[in-house]
């Protein structure tokens, strides 16, 4: 599995032939569709930019993207991500508009392509998309040519979440001077356990595709129904440990995931048994990973995957994650709107 593929560099089935692409445009280089599109330099730049923007005087910051137009296109509900992106855009001075699936023409059957073209025609220069279908941001990127920020697509990826998780980890576990730049060994020696509903988690995928590239070891932990064995092959540096305690013992960071009931689709899960085996409660945490940093992308279901004692306890960085989210999203928006599109009409793609 190639760890990194630039969106334009589609995998080719036969080397002498180019793959069919009938889309009008290339993915805008300011897009954030998948963490695999970022080089480590990109990641460092985003981290440094996040810090720079965060500490910048508010009025100066509000000039950076003054009156630029950013659309938030949300086909799924969201609290954190939506508010975070919106506040990030506004604090850079951009105008934002929210379009959600209910109460828009999407309800009347308008396609994603037409919705995107409409937003572009209305002056949107960047679209932040949350969508229930994996890969939907690629379609929007190809059909509009705009920079697209993936705010979560189906069970695929959530790149800004992985970046904010990284920033949280760096700020809690590393000295200040190491927080704004990463290398292939930046997280060397660190083990991060991601536990719970891996199968349906775009957060798990983005983190598992990003953190090992910085030298971290990622352990996926969960029952077979929520964690197929093939998941470990997603990339190097990822392994599966079914026993939660064994995973905790090795962990510097524990990321708990919600069970996504809305995506279970006929899958039956014994919740009592699940809680018994995978809930992060105070006794488990203190017995097996007393020093571990506890993360959760939210929304948390207290009493299911995590108890209140842990969520509100000293190990928890859940609120900090949200805080780092705004800085990361400012950086992503700045990058999206400051990056020039490459010349990308259809003909240049063909050979």
């Amino acid at each position: 599995m190639p760890a990194r593929t630039k969106p334009a560099a589609r995998q080719r089935a036969a080397p002498q032939n180019s793959q069919a692409i009938d889309f009008p445009t290339k993915v805008h280089p300011g897009s954030a569709l998948s963490v695999t599109h970022f080089t480590l330099e990109d990641v460092s730049e985003i981290l440094a930019q996040a810090s720079r923007l965060e500490t910048m005087p508010v009025l100066r910051r509000a000039q950076l993207l003054a009156k630029r137009r950013v659309a938030l296109l949300f086909y799924e509900s969201s609290t954190r991500t939506r508010t975070s992106f919106e506040l990030a855009a506004k604090s850079l001075g951009a105008d934002t508009v929210l379009v959600s699936a209910l109460s828009s023409s999407i309800e009347k059957g308008e396609s994603l392509k037409d919705t995107g073209i409409t937003l572009r025609a209305l002056g949107a220069e960047c679209i932040i998309l949350r969508h229930p279908n994996s890969g939907a941001p690629y379609l929007l990127a190809h059909t509009t040519g705009l920079p697209i920020l993936n705010a979560g697509d189906g069970t695929h990826e959530h790149p800004s979440q992985a970046l904010l998780d990284l920033r949280t980890i760096l700020s809690r576990l590393f000295p200040a001077k190491q927080r704004n730049s990463v290398t292939a060994r930046a997280l060397h020696g660190l083990t991060i356990t991601i536990a719970g509903d891996i199968l349906h988690s775009r957060v798990a995928r983005s983190n598992a595709l990003l953190l090992p590239r910085l030298g971290a070891r990622v352990i996926f932990c969960g029952p077979e129904a929520l964690l197929p064995s093939t998941a470990a092959e997603i990339g190097h540096g990822v392994l599966i440990e079914r026993n939660f305690e064994d995973a905790l013992k090795q962990s510097d960071v524990v990321m708990m995931l919600r069970i996504q009931k809305e995506r279970l689709a006929g899958l039956h899960l014994d919740l009592e048994d699940y809680i018994q085996r995978y809930q992060l409660d105070a006794s488990r945490l203190s017995a097996y990973a007393p020093k571990a940093l506890v993360l959760h992308p939210g929304p948390m279901i207290r009493g299911l995957e995590i108890t209140s004692e842990v969520a509100d306890g000293p190990n928890s960085a859940v609120a900090e994650q949200v805080h780092h989210g705004t800085a990361i999203r400012m950086a992503l928006l700045f990058r999206a709107l400051q990056t020039k599109p490459t010349q990308s009409k259809k003909k240049s793609r063909k050979r």
Partner: protein, 441 residues
């Protein structure tokens, strides 16, 4: 009376084992004579035959695609019998077998006849495959005898599998009584709900639900078991667009045990793997899905060792707006008629050294035998004058914008392929002629 002499070409006719220079005389809709070079000149002159100069070209039986979707009746915006058969002609096909998942489903003699009516303006022969069950609902059998009399050459609920054991058994038995095969789309839909690609690490990484290989092989194994209950002398099961090593092994074992089981493989399944999905390219979405490289290798092995009986395209046109959707929402299927020969030559002949006779057998005499199409897939005297003329070595670039199909959903756009089809003759009529654009002239 019209006569055509195809002169100076290299004749490859797998049905009679010819692979040498031969001239071919077509009179009206039949092959009138096959003889050594120049031996037919006098006869041709007497009959004022049209002369086709085929020097440096391969002359072969017109290709037969036993699995296409022509979308008529009901979905003329995707394809019509007129446009689909023109795409067929451009790809060297002179016979196509049209699947019944039309609107309404072709489950009646009326629709079966309607599809073959001259008003449909087909330029090559269309053989309807009728629905195995009413409305392809998998519950009650259609009228096999009446459908056969109306021209149906097989029974299938393609697109949907026949899941119920009892119905599948009845279908095999009823088809056997009228001497036709049942073609099964082998997919246990209980294992493929909401799935849009092959199951594996790539589907996990892309966040798409996967179809396990067992969803295909399980049905194939079940069907073989049902067929064996019928008794060895009767019943014919044909597995459509077989895509996995496991299902192929099941077919191989069944053949060894003497059961009448045949199968077809689609060019995209032996040319591509699931990696072609790339960034959610809906032109790499079909059912069965593109599989792993191990499956692909097994299919090529099966094509080489004779386990596979036919190459069939599963030509499935869809409008642009249907394919330009979220991957999970886009419909399954790609077009294939115009690229099948080129892809087969590229992958099987060039890369895997399959002899041309074997390759052409898979595209002509093979499917003719599976469906018992009389006087098709052969250039022996008395056969239908169905001929394809191409130059194996001539490279050409397939551009979907040039496609004769009404739909342009293909993953092979821009591919450089060997074997440009120069001439297609269907029942004595020239239905495709690209000699003028050939680079060699």
């Amino acid at each position: 009376m019209t006569t055509i002499l195809i002169r100076g070409g290299h004749l490859v006719d797998p049905s009679i084992g010819v692979d040498e220079k031969r001239d071919l005389l077509l009179r009206d809709d039949r092959v009138a004579a096959v003889d050594l070079p120049a031996k037919l000149d006098a006869l041709a002159k007497k009959e004022r035959a049209t002369i086709v100069d085929a020097r440096g070209m391969t002359v072969a039986p017109g290709l037969i695609d036993m699995h296409v979707h022509l979308r008529e009746p009901g979905q003329g915006y995707k394809e019509t019998i007129a446009t689909g058969t023109r795409a067929a002609a451009a790809g060297g096909f002179t016979s196509v077998c049209a699947m019944p998942n039309t609107l309404p489903v072709n489950d009646s003699p009326e629709i079966t006849r309607w599809m073959q009516s001259p008003e449909r303006d087909a330029v090559v022969r269309v053989f309807p495959i009728a629905a195995a069950t009413r409305g392809s609902m998998g519950e009650a059998l259609t009228e096999y005898g009446a459908l056969k009399a109306a021209g149906a050459v097989a029974f299938s609920d393609d697109g949907k599998p026949i899941l119920q054991d009892a119905i599948m058994y009845e279908s095999l038995a009823a088809a056997s009584r009228v001497g036709l095969p049942v073609i099964q789309h082998a997919e246990d839909t209980r294992l493929t709900q909401n799935a849009s690609m092959n199951a594996g690490v790539l589907s996990f990484r892309l966040g798409l639900r996967g179809m396990p290989a067992e969803a295909e092989s399980g049905i194939v194994e079940r069907d073989i078991e049902l067929l064996s209950r019928l008794g060895k002398s009767s019943g014919h099961l044909h597995v459509a667009h077989l895509s996995t090593a496991k299902a192929l092994d099941a077919v191989r074992r069944a053949k060894r045990s003497g059961l009448h089981v045949t199968c077809e493989v689609a060019p995209h399944h032996f040319a591509l793997t699931e990696q072609a999905i790339g960034d959610y390219d809906t032109h790499a979405k079909m059912s069965p899905p593109l599989r792993s490289s191990e499956d692909r290798a097994a299919l090529i092995e099966g094509l080489l060792d004779g386990t596979v009986d036919a190459i069939a395209t599963d030509h499935a046109p869809h409008a642009i707006h249907e394919k330009e959707q979220e991957f999970e929402r886009a419909p399954n299927g790609i077009t294939g008629l115009e690229t099948a020969l080129g892809i087969s030559l590229l992958v099987l002949h060039r890369q895997h050294r399959m002899p041309l006779t074997r390759l052409l057998a898979l595209l002509s005499s093979g499917p003719a035998k599976v469906l018992q199409l009389k006087h098709r897939g052969s250039l022996s005297v008395g056969s239908f004058a169905d001929v394809v003329v191409f130059r194996v070595a001539e490279q050409w670039k397939f551009l979907m914008s040039d496609s004769k199909s009404k739909s342009k959903n293909t993953p092979f756009d821009g591919w450089t392929l060997p074997g440009r089809v120069l001439l297609t003759i269907s029942e004595g009529r020239i239905v495709h002629d690209a000699r003028a654009v050939s680079s060699k002239r």
